[in-house]
């Protein structure tokens, strides 16, 4: 049996944990810190070009071994479980939410208000952008004010995006480039400049922020201990108080089935799935519904957003592959006047190769070889395709839940999680109107370029999932307070995506990182 003690133990090794660890040591350089992560550390940066190439050539995993075989869930849950978490694979998109996201109840009578003022959150958005290294272009909308400029100039708008912007703005909707955690200058954060590899899921140059980078820097400076391949199975209460006394863990490699962590403060940073899961798994006779769950809100209000998307065939010369993960965004629809039917969404435009590729047979089914195939293909290269998508705001039902699946257990005998998203009645009631609205926006865009719109498809899962330990001022209807401190256990914090009451209508990473950075200031007190 191994026993470790630290001032702070962080459970989880993803992007939130990396940010919390980095900031905590700036604020409290003398504190001891242990990060415990169930998956492996994949720090072999020198092999990333090879992994990228094998992914392109053979479809192999860009991050070989980035999972724990028997640590799976049912529902929308990424299998990534490694130091760096899902942000090993992310595209680096760093959109902010808007003030409306934090005032849904007071502005529209919907869902819940967040227990935080926008100006306060904005300050931490700036900090998150600095730490992640975000390159971006200021939105032209006054509502998108910012107190600091982006840390890096925006990514060059590719020739393709310039063409697409020119077309899209003919519709009367304003577009600009999407902010991303990708270096547009050499050396920011010790990382290289983007080289347009088109494989942001694994950035071989390090231009796209990845949490493993932060962990390596902290380890090199001997600022923390990182215990990877160590699965925390249970949080244990102090015998007489509601404080957390220890975390019980096992080594995934079987080297030790009885590892104990003791700390003054525990920070749960295991994402929207594994954070509420651990709280539920940690039920005891004193807390039979799980820890931090006196409100019965752990695992509830699982959130995210839905999307409609389409392609638009345009009379534009587009060269697919110039920088196909970079996109345009419009935030014009982030706001909705309170006297109008409620619909809020982002709007993104990408270059697209759909329908432009080589074909073995022509429209009549005749086989094409050599020059005939190339001639047929070239006919399709004279026009271009845009991919257009709008993430729209839906709100979680109370019974949008993560629960323990008693029929599915890992090798240690622990029940695994199952997530069943459910949107609330108001979101359901407005779905048809939302679809009609977005279809109208897509049609408006298509008309602007005399384009032909493809089928409008709906995302069949909630993207950018969050929730499960929502924050709030009222302990009866929330799990954590505005700083992520659990209402029930004063030395237990939950940080990151689980704390979001609602999932907004755009990518959530920057938002939950900002909230986590705010939490650190409380943790450090």
């Amino acid at each position: 049996m191994a026993r470790y003690e630290a001032d702070v133990v962080i459970i989880g090794g993803g992007i939130t944990a990396a940010m919390v660890a980095e900031k905590l040591f700036e604020l409290r350089p003398n504190w001891s810190l242990i990060v415990v992560e169930a998956g492996k550390r994949l720090f072999d940066f020198e092999n990333r070009f090879e992994y990228r190439q094998r992914s392109l050539d053979y479809g192999e995993n860009q991050w070989p071994g980035d999972f724990v075989a028997d640590q799976a869930a049912r529902g929308v849950v990424s299998r990534t479980m490694a130091v760096g978490g899902s942000a090993l694979h992310w595209g680096g998109v760093c959109n902010r939410f808007s003030e409306e996201d934090t005032r849904l109840k007071s502005l529209y009578g919907l869902a819940a208000d967040w227990p935080i003022e926008w100006k306060e959150l904005e300050r931490f958005y700036c900090e998150a952008e600095r730490r992640l290294g975000v390159s971006g272009e200021q939105s032209p909308l006054p509502e998108d004010w910012r107190s600091e400029p982006y840390p890096m100039p925006a990514m060059t708008m590719s020739y393709n995006l310039k063409q697409l912007k020119s077309w899209a703005e003919h519709s009367g909707i304003k577009f600009w480039t999407t902010p991303q955690a990708k270096n547009t200058v050499e050396g920011y954060g010790g990382r290289g400049r983007c080289r347009r590899c088109n494989t942001c899921e694994i950035c071989p140059t390090g231009a796209r922020y990845s949490p493993d980078w932060t962990f390596k820097q902290l380890l090199a400076a001997k600022k923390l201990q990182l215990h990877d391949q160590t699965l925390v199975r249970k949080l244990v209460l102090d015998e007489r108080t509601p404080r957390i006394a220890s975390a019980q863990a096992v080594r995934e490699d079987g080297a030790d089935n009885n590892v104990e962590y003791r700390a003054r403060t525990f920070v749960l940073a295991s994402g929207y799935c594994w954070s509420p899961h651990l709280l539920l798994l940690s039920a005891s006779s004193r807390f039979p519904n799980g820890l931090a769950n006196s409100s019965d809100h752990v695992g509830r209000y699982m959130t995210g957003h839905l999307a409609y998307q389409t392609t638009i065939d345009l009379d534009l010369k587009i060269f697919p592959g110039m920088n196909d993960q970079h996109s345009l965004i419009s935030r014009e629809f982030f706001r909705c006047r309170p006297d109008r039917s409620y619909v809020r969404h982002d709007l993104r435009v990408w270059e697209n190769a759909g329908g432009r590729g080589p074909q073995l047979r022509d429209a009549e089914g005749k086989l094409l070889l050599g020059d005939a195939l190339m001639a047929d293909w070239r006919k399709r290269t004279t026009r271009g395709t845009a991919r257009v998508r709008g993430y729209f705001d839906v709100h979680p039902d109370r019974d949008s839940r993560l629960t323990l699946d008693t029929a599915a257990k890992n090798r240690w005998g622990d029940s695994l999680p199952v997530i069943q998203h459910r949107i609330d009645a108001a979101s359901q009631a407005r779905q048809a109107a939302t679809r009609e609205h977005l279809q109208g926006v897509f049609t408006q865009l298509a008309k602007a370029g005399d384009g032909r719109m493809g089928n409008v498809g709906a995302l069949n899962y909630q993207d950018h999932p969050a929730g499960g330990c929502r924050m709030g001022s009222d302990p009866a209807t929330s799990v954590v307070n505005t700083f992520g401190r659990t209402h029930d256990h004063e030395n237990l914090f939950v940080v990151g995506s689980p704390t979001l009451p609602t999932g907004g209508c755009t990518n959530g990473t920057l938002t939950f990182v900002a909230l986590a950075l705010r939490s650190v200031e409380e943790i450090a007190k």
């Binding site: 094998r54 392109l56 050539d57 053979y58 479809g59 192999e60 995993n61 991050w63 070989p64 071994g65 980035d66 999972f67 075989a69 799976a72 869930a73 049912r74 529902g75 929308v76 849950v77 990424s78 299998r79 990534t80 694979h89 990514m155 060059t156 708008m157 590719s158 020739y159 310039k162 547009t184 400049r193 983007c194 080289r195 347009r196 590899c197 088109n198 071989p204 140059t205 010369k317 060269f319 697919p320 592959g321 110039m322 920088n323 590729g357 080589p358 074909q359 073995l360 047979r361 089914g365 086989l367 070889l369 050599g370 020059d371 195939l373 190339m374 293909w377 290269t381 899962y461 999932p465």
Partner: protein, 203 residues
Amino acid sequence: MAAPVNGHLHRRTLLQFLAAAIAASPLGRLRLFAQTPPITDAQTVTLKAIAEVVLPNAVSREDRDRIVTAFVAWVRDYKEGADMGHGYGSSTLRQASGASPAARYPAQFAALDDAAKAAGAASFVAMPLDARRAAIEAALNGPQPVNRLPAQPTGQSLIADFMGFYFTSSDAWDLAYQAQIGRDRCRTLDGSDQAPEPLGRSF
């Protein structure tokens, strides 16, 4: 362990032993790779004869040879049992990679030669270009016609696999667009706001 009765069995037994030993060892995750025999020199010549028919004329002979060499290398470096990862937001792991598609190629190389012999030629390679084209069309239009270019070799059709290997490549897209896009290459951001340079070479 049973005593080997001939060299073949001996070799197989040894391989089975190695497989079991490696699987049981800490290095087991590395698995045994590349059980499929590589493409032979003779088959490589056949591939070049196929390439002359199915690749565009704008691809020079040297570049055709390079494409064939790259395809042979793809087959050689294929790994069975490789980690294929997991899809975005998916809670399930993809199945590990299966047997090499190239395991199905020897019979298809042989069938091309058989067809050539039935047509009175010594081999597929010995046939003139038009006859090779006819044989290739017959193979792709056969009882189970091939209708799509696979993004990656599947083994169903050697010829379609080879064509897909080239036509889905970054180089083929550049040729189609007559521009140096370089989709799969890591490139500087500089100049990306301009249209890509026109192709200055044959491929």
